[in-house]
Amino acid sequence: MGHKISGITAERLSSDELAQNFSDLHTPLQPHEVRVAADRCYFCHDAPCVAACPTDIDIPLFIRQISTGTPEAAAKTIFDMNILGGMCARVCPTEELCEQVCVREVSEGKPVEIGRLQRHATDTLMAKGIHPFSRAAQTGKTVAVVGAGPAGLSCAHRLALLGNDVTIYDARPKAGGLNEYGIAAYKTTNDFAAREIEWLLSIGGITLENGKALGNDLALEDLIGKFDAVFLAVGLGGVNALEVAGFGSERVSNAVDFIETLRQTPDLGTLEVGRHVVVIGGGMTAVDTAVQSKLLGAEQVTIAYRRDRNAMSASRYEQDLAAQQGVKLLFNMQPIEFDTTGDTPMLELGYSTVNNGKVEATGETIRIMADQIFCAIGQRLTTDAGLALEGQKIRVNEVGRTGLTGVWAGGDCALGGNDLTVTAVAEGRDAAIDIHNTLMGGA
């Protein structure tokens, strides 16, 4: 950022204020809170929370293990199904998964705090430096995993656990994918993503090669030739663009880059943010961008989403979090023109309605001040590696097999799922099991 754009500046807040703003969104439960929270679990039969968990963690069992003073055993129960249980405890939209169907949520509107209890268990074990798994006897099989995000890491760990040797390739300098580059900072403080990976890799049998991107440094056919199987978990590398008059301005950038920069900076005080920020979009990225803009010191932050509240992919909980931080949420509104000619840059927004699923402009408009605009209208697959697609994602079956023999895929790049970390973990795990069984001559 060589030159300065008026209204967009660094150091809007003191370093103390920034540190405070970007500390843990949910502080860890204190020992006594743990006891009380765990005691609220009814240990349901065939519990709805388990059914709602994409990774099928045995939640009543792990909570009971916590309540009897063995959080380490609880962590093992969690990691058995979800090796990234630590990150999922931080970023899962539990309010739409396990906690939404908790019988106490249904009956009292106050679910058992499953996410925070999971964090207590996983943090306890990881703090002890214990990796509770050891590898099975070597199979002699090798698997390439492309992409070191949640799906790739989960797949690699399960494969290594079963005795296979794994090489993970990742395009970026650090492993972790969205865990490292794409999640709001206050959800994963103290470099948790990196620490979790180090812990995960301590099982052994996994080699990590960074700076290797599919299509540039790696060719799928080479990997197929070199390894017994390939798992693609390359995520969605591209951002969708928005064709709006004036959006070519340097005041407009994409939200994914903003979050990535924020996650990687050693000094939040150096980040530049506008006084009047507008975020276009309705997903988690939009909320994370809006909230973090506010936390960096933006005075007025607005999210403009073209459909109504219910259509927003960010949960109601996330919407409320944004509102609580002072973010203004505008629904049924889309950008028409960004006018940067005057002293004060203005964004014109048009009201819209949804007719038969299609967004239509009503013709009414408003203009709001906007010295910085972030677009968060979705990401897309950039590397299909020649595989068959469906709905702009790699076509896979329920265990991640692509149309090409020996190649599996999972995570955001693959069909199905809901672009959640926890779903990617489940897909990586299930593909690993299928890969292993296939290589061992099984099903």
């Binding site: 240990f43 349901c44 039969h45 709805p48 249904v106």
Partner: protein, 434 residues
């Protein structure tokens, strides 16, 4: 407004809530504050013979069993009788009684089983002006090793003998406090009555080890690496105590004998329950030791409200009211049939009733795909387990089945006749119904 005034053995107190002989009643300072807080009476912590006082351990005296959120459910102690000089206690008792003439002041006593020892201390206690005495035949730890406390309470002949001495050398009411660490509570109670006791109080504490430290392998509380059994009290012992109270209330040898109920009384409701089983008042310790003296305010307001709601104007209206309904198993009506019923509107679909019934009972609850739980009448024996494990109060209820209808489980028509085991055809010793 209900009148809570209590007349127990002629001893008047403003309410039936007394503090039991224990740490809360060990000295003037506490007892004055207890009376000021609203307690109706106290049983002064047990006095021993003249001479060097007993000594206590200098490490932890208590251990507990906890429920959720560190709630104290059971308390265990290894404290002995008062470790303050006899004269000091007697002076304080005299002063306090003088200043609180309308409150009950009972003195607990434990001296060796020698007539002279009892004669000596009784003269001194008589002089304090206290309203009565309670004989501590119950402490299960420490003193029992020296032939006192529970060691006396476990031998009916000793109870009778000492009680008789007390009635001989002391002019006011004598209450005999019983130990539960025996096989049949009716025997010591009957012995007390034969000795002339005016009342019994029960229970004293139960032999207990509340926990073992798995690092040091020492029972707790641990004194320099060693533990010993203590005496258990608190909410956890209430069911045991109430059963013993009911046995004394029902046994021909002891029926009608005044009883002071002790054991886990924590709320007004606990007190009311004890009293319906025949107790003229109750004694409280653990609840006060857990929450302080102020809890008596809730006990007073709660009991008053309940009495008003039920139309009871005095304590006597309900003392013993549940005794006629307390019977032996063999007299329970085997023709009474109930079935569990789940109120679907209240059900939160946790499935605990299903797990409990399916795994451990009669497979009488069905679970549908959409987690609707329903009772299978043809299997339900009305055991009540589902009711007990359901987290929602009154979601599952036991519904009595009407006479004349068919019990789906047995295929038999439900009789309106009362029929118990004594006349049941399956009973080899059945007598013909008359």
């Amino acid at each position: 407004m209900a009148d809570l005034t209590t007349d127990f053995l002629g001893i008047k107190s403003p309410n039936p809530f007394w503090l039991a002989s224990a740490p809360p009643t060990d000295k003037e300072y506490n007892v004055r504050r207890a009376f000021d807080a609203g307690w109706g009476g106290v049983v002064w912590k047990t006095l021993g013979s003249e001479g060097p006082p007993v000594v206590n351990v200098n490490g932890p005296r208590y251990g507990v069993i906890r429920g959720a959120d560190r709630r104290v459910l059971g308390l265990n102690n290894i404290e002995l009788i008062t470790d303050r000089p006899l004269e000091v206690n007697l002076e304080e008792i005299t002063r306090v009684k003088k200043d609180y003439p309308n409150h009950a002041m009972i003195v607990s006593i434990m001296v060796p089983c020698e007539e002279q020892a009892w004669k000596d201390i009784l003269e001194k206690v008589e002089a304090t002006g206290a309203d009565g005495i309670e004989l501590n035949f119950g402490c299960p730890h420490g003193m029992s090793e020296r032939g006192m406390g529970a060691a006396v309470g476990q031998v009916p002949e000793y109870i009778e003998m000492v009680t008789r001495w007390c009635k001989q050398y002391y002019s006011k009411p004598v209450i005999v406090k019983l130990t539960p660490n025996i096989t049949d509570i009716r025997l010591p109670a009957a012995a007390a009555r034969r000795g002339g006791a005016d009342a019994v109080s029960l229970i004293n504490t139960i032999n207990s080890i509340v926990s073992v430290n798995l690092d040091t392998m020492s029972p707790e509380p641990s004194i320099d690496g060693k533990g010993t059994h203590g005496g258990y009290c608190g909410p956890a012992v209430k069911p045991i105590a109430m059963s013993m109270v009911s046995e004394i209330a029902r046994a021909p040898e002891t029926a009608g004998m005044p009883i002071s109920g002790i054991g886990g009384v924590t709320t007004w409701r606990d007190a009311a329950e004890y009293m319906t089983l025949g107790c003229g008042n109750v004694q409280v310790c653990t609840a006060a030791m857990t929450y302080g003296f102020k809890i008596v305010q809730e006990m007073i307001s709660g009991l008053s409200q309940w009495m008003d709601e039920k139309g009871h104007t005095s304590i006597q209206d309900f003392v013993g009211a549940a005794i006629p309904n307390t019977t032996d198993w063999k007299y329970l009506n085997l023709n009474y049939v109930a079935k569990a019923e789940i109120n679907q509107a209240d059900c939160i679909s946790c499935g605990r009733c299903y797990a409990a019934c399916e795994d451990t009972s009669h497979q009488a609850i069905a679970m549908s795909e959409d987690r609707t739980f329903s009772v299978i009448d043809a299997e339900c024996v009305a055991c009540n387990l589902c009711v007990e494990v359901c987290p929602v109060e009154n979601c599952i209820t036991m519904v009595p089945q009407e006479a004349g209808t068919v019990d789906q489980r047995t295929g038999k028509t439900i009789s309106e006749e009362y029929g118990n085991w004594t006349t049941h055809p399956n009973n080899p010793g059945a007598v013909a119904a008359e």
